[in-house]
């Protein structure tokens, strides 16, 4: 006991230079001093430069008149709108292209990933070639390929290519028939929402019943019937209010219909095909990551192969797949900023235009970064929550 007391009284083993606590304190002080000094120097320079260039700092410029047109806008926008509104249009466009891109990339990626594990030699090789080509090419190049290589050399509107369902394809994009909603069509949307709610409710009830009694209920078909059937019924009841506005050829251009511009189309196709290659690899790794014993055990329990896949393999594969999948979705969203290269008005492009017109470099870059950063952080928060929910519940 006595000797231990002695040791405890003399903790320092040497000079005070070797004490890790002192060292870390000194080191951190140095870092903070350097950082503060650097920031102070930068801020001083910025103030200097701004006064020299006669640029007023602050976000007041967002209320100024934009004066430029945006070709694709989901909300009302004219060149008389404010800079702020132009940037909001950009944010919405970014979200639109990211959302449709994510859906398409997931679908392609899922099938290609399954295909790479197929026992069918030919399918496996085709999927491998697809993955190896798209993984190793810059996404910007894929965008240019679609934009200048494929879409720009399509025929003029006069010689449009006719696609099924009255759609037309030419240099200026794809023209789809546009749905014109007549009176009473709100009923269809209501029916759709009700269908989804009822399907969810049925699934819940079925689950509870299965837990309690072991009896199963055909949830899938009931849900499909509810979600598709109810709107159809509403459509019939409200007197078929939906009509289609087909694109028509006039002398120089096409009128009517719903246009998907080549800028959007090339960005969307490129992002989907590019990201799908990565998603395919993730799906493949996820399925291969489930131990072989799991599928053997489900066979031993008498599950059919579809059931084994749905109830045993996929839920476990999901746990492996979800984190990298989330980061691929984020990558797709971030890659949508490449839109600026072909002039699709996403956030980067509109903020870039605003930057060029106003010279408010710091504010514009800050807006861009903040928006992307918030999208990323929100997505990762959601994914963390989802991941925790899906995580293996252990004892």
């Amino acid at each position: 006991m006595a000797s231990q007391e002695v040791i405890r009284e003399e903790p320092s083993r040497g000079s005070f230079i070797n004490d890790p606590k002192v060292r870390s304190l000194v080191f951190q002080t140095v870092v903070v001093v350097l950082l503060v000094g650097g920031v102070w120097w930068i801020v001083n320079n910025v103030i200097d430069n701004l006064t020299r260039l006669h640029i007023a700092s602050g976000f007041g410029f967002l209320r100024g008149r934009a004066g430029f047109d945006i070709s694709d806008s989901a909300i009302a926008y004219t060149s008389d709108s404010t800079y702020g509104r132009a940037i909001i249009v950009g944010i919405i466009n970014t979200l639109i292209v990211a959302a449709v891109g994510i859906v398409t990339a997931s679908i392609i990626g899922f099938f290609v990933g399954i295909g790479r594990l197929s026992r069918n030699w030919l399918i496996q090789k085709i999927c491998t070639v697809y993955v190896e080509i798209f993984r190793n090419i810059p996404p910007l190049l894929v965008i240019f390929f679609w934009y200048s290589g494929v879409l720009a050399v399509l025929p003029t509107p006069k010689e449009s290519i006719h696609l099924p369902f009255g759609s037309l394809l030419n240099q200026r994009g794809i023209y789809f028939p546009r749905a014109v909603w007549g009176d009473g069509s709100w009923l269809i949307f209501v029916a759709f929402l009700v269908g989804i709610a009822m399907a969810w409710f049925v699934a819940r009830m079925a689950r509870q019943r299965q837990m309690a009694t072991g009896q199963q209920f055909p949830v899938l078909w009931t849900s499909v019937a509810l979600i598709v059937g109810l709107p159809l019924l509403a459509y019939a009841l409200s007197g078929f209010p939906l009509s289609l506005d087909f694109p028509k050829q006039s002398t120089f251009n096409l009128t009517g219909g719903f246009v998907v511009k080549p800028e959007f189309l090339s960005l969307y196709l490129a992002l989907s095909f590019y990201t799908a290659a990565f998603i395919a690899e993730i799906v493949r790794a996820g399925i291969r990551g489930v131990a072989r014993g799991q599928s053997e055990a489900s066979e031993a329990l008498g599950l059919r192969s579809g059931q084994a896949l749905r109830l045993v393999v996929v839920p476990q594969a999901m746990r492996i797949v979800i984190p990298p999948l989330a980061s691929q979705y984020l990558n797709l969203t971030k890659n949508s900023s490449l839109a600026i290269a072909i002039g699709y008005p996403d956030l980067t492009a509109t903020a870039g235009t605003v930057l060029n017109q106003t010279g408010q470099a710091i504010e514009c870059v800050l807006i861009m970064m903040t928006v992307y950063l918030s999208i990323s952080l929100l997505t990762s928060l959601f994914m963390n929550w989802f991941n925790a929910k899906m995580a293996l519940v252990e004892r």
């Binding site: 870390s24 080191f27 951190q28 870092v31 903070v32 950082l35 930068i42 320079n45 910025v46 200097d48 430069n49 701004l50 020299r52 197929s118 026992r119 069918n120 030699w121 030919l122 399918i123 085709i126 190896e132 080509i133 993984r135 190793n136 090419i137 810059p138 996404p139 910007l140 190049l141 240019f144 390929f145 200048s148 290589g149 494929v150 720009a152 050399v153 971030k334 890659n335 900023s337 490449l338 600026i340 290269a341 980067t348 870039g352 930057l355 470099a361 710091i362 870059v365 861009m368 970064m369 992307y372 950063l373 990323s376 952080l377």
Partner: protein, 387 residues
């Protein structure tokens, strides 16, 4: 005890029989891998249809119908598309003549023709130093690494930029093409790995301020697209500096790309650090090693080995991302190809496609090579970690 009625016992082994005809050879392979079941057969038919639809078209376009040489655009035009077009109606093929005519630019940009031996020499030096570095059997890796990662960049800088040793100065706006793509990604690789390691160590450090700064930097950079970082480097950096101090545009892009990839590298390295069991750290501590000794001799060799695939993936990503500098009007491989689309002398419907396919092929060669090499290294270094 028990009576055995062994009326006949075999005294010699039965000779091995050849496998039944149904399970070997071509036919069996086809049965097993292509037409195993009804759905398999359907998939195979779809696959064959797909291949039959795409492959002949691609071969036709890229090789059979392609125009390999020619003085100007007329060789890649049909008579209907423009006057002087020599191709028959409905012709579509690659215009490799365009690539051929612009080949010098694609490699070097507008680097002065009489000085082009300099980038070529740098390329040869890079090749001579890189190849032995990549071959595991060649000795003297330490010297090789110093030459490749420290001496070569310095020598290349003086060779490419000039202005010393009697070499005329070549400004970076005249650099271009593959020269920019390769030099940018090489420097970014050389800078980002050590920087990423430092950031990863900082993120796992016990010092709260250092840790916080590293976390903020890494997460902020990873949360935004590279193009905004490049924007920042090209429009904000000049504002950060005192009046009159200007930075080369190439250098600004270099800083942007390096910092960006360092953040990704840091996360990869952190993954490796986390995978090292605690006992290794404690073992190093108990041997009396200091922090840097512990990291250098014990932790890093194991951690980096674990994350080689991740590091190479980051390299590949960086190589692909270097193409984004074309957006801030620098002419890298992709930028220079794209710039030449506007050359009226070569304006044809197939120019863009041919140029882009060629650029894609070069990018693909490098990236695919890197990923294959990483797979090879992974197998070679796999020293008993696999269960």
């Amino acid at each position: 005890m028990q009576e055995h009625d062994m009326s006949w016992v075999r005294t010699e082994m039965v000779l091995a029989q050849p496998a039944p005809a149904g399970v070997t050879g071509m036919g069996a392979w086809v049965r097993k891998n292509l037409i195993g079941s009804v759905s398999d057969t359907i998939m195979t038919i779809i696959g064959i249809a797909l291949v039959a639809l795409i492959v002949p078209q691609v071969i036709n376009w890229a090789f059979i119908n392609a125009q390999w040489t020619g003085p100007d655009r007329t060789v890649c035009l049909t008579a209907a598309q423009a006057q002087g077009g020599i191709q028959p109606d409905g012709w579509s093929g690659a215009c490799w003549a365009f690539v051929n005519a612009k080949f010098g630019q694609i490699l070097f940009g507008t680097y002065p023709t009489e000085e082009r031996w300099r980038p070529i020499l740098v390329g040869i030096l890079l090749f001579v130093l890189l190849v032995p570095m990549l071959m595991p059997k060649v000795p003297r890796k330490g010297l090789n690494a110093v030459l490749l990662l420290i001496v070569l960049p310095i020598v290349s800088f003086f060779l490419l930029s000039g202005g010393a040793f009697g070499l005329p100065h070549v400004e970076t706006p005249r650099w271009g093409g593959l020269l920019i793509t390769l030099s940018l990604s090489f420097v970014a690789i050389v800078v980002s790995l050590p920087l990423g390691i430092v950031l990863a160590l900082g993120r796992r450090s016990n010092m709260p301020i250092v840790k916080m700064l590293c976390v903020i930097f890494i997460e902020a950079v990873r949360g935004v697209p590279l193009i905004t970082v490049l924007f920042m480097a090209s429009v904000m950096l000049p504002l950060f500096l005192p009046a009159g101090v200007t930075f080369d545009k190439y250098l600004r892009a270099l800083i942007g790309v390096s910092l960006f990839s360092a953040a990704y590298m840091a996360e990869v390295v952190r993954g490796g650090l986390q995978a090292i069991p605690k006992g290794q750290y404690e073992g190093a501590d108990s041997l009396g090693l200091g922090y840097w000794q512990k990291m250098y001799f014990v932790v890093m060799p194991q951690a980096l080995k674990l994350v080689i695939p991740g590091i190479v993936n980051t390299f590949i990503g960086m190589f692909k991302d270097s193409s984004l500098v074309s957006i801030i009007s620098m002419f890298d491989l992709l930028g220079i190809v794209k710039q030449n689309f506007s050359d009226p002398n070569w304006a044809t419907p197939v120019t863009a496609k041919s140029g882009l396919v060629f650029a894609a092929f070069i990018f693909w060669l490098f990236c695919f090579g890197m990923s294959r090499y990483s797979m090879y290294t992974e197998r070679r270094l796999d020293t008993g970690h696999k269960r």
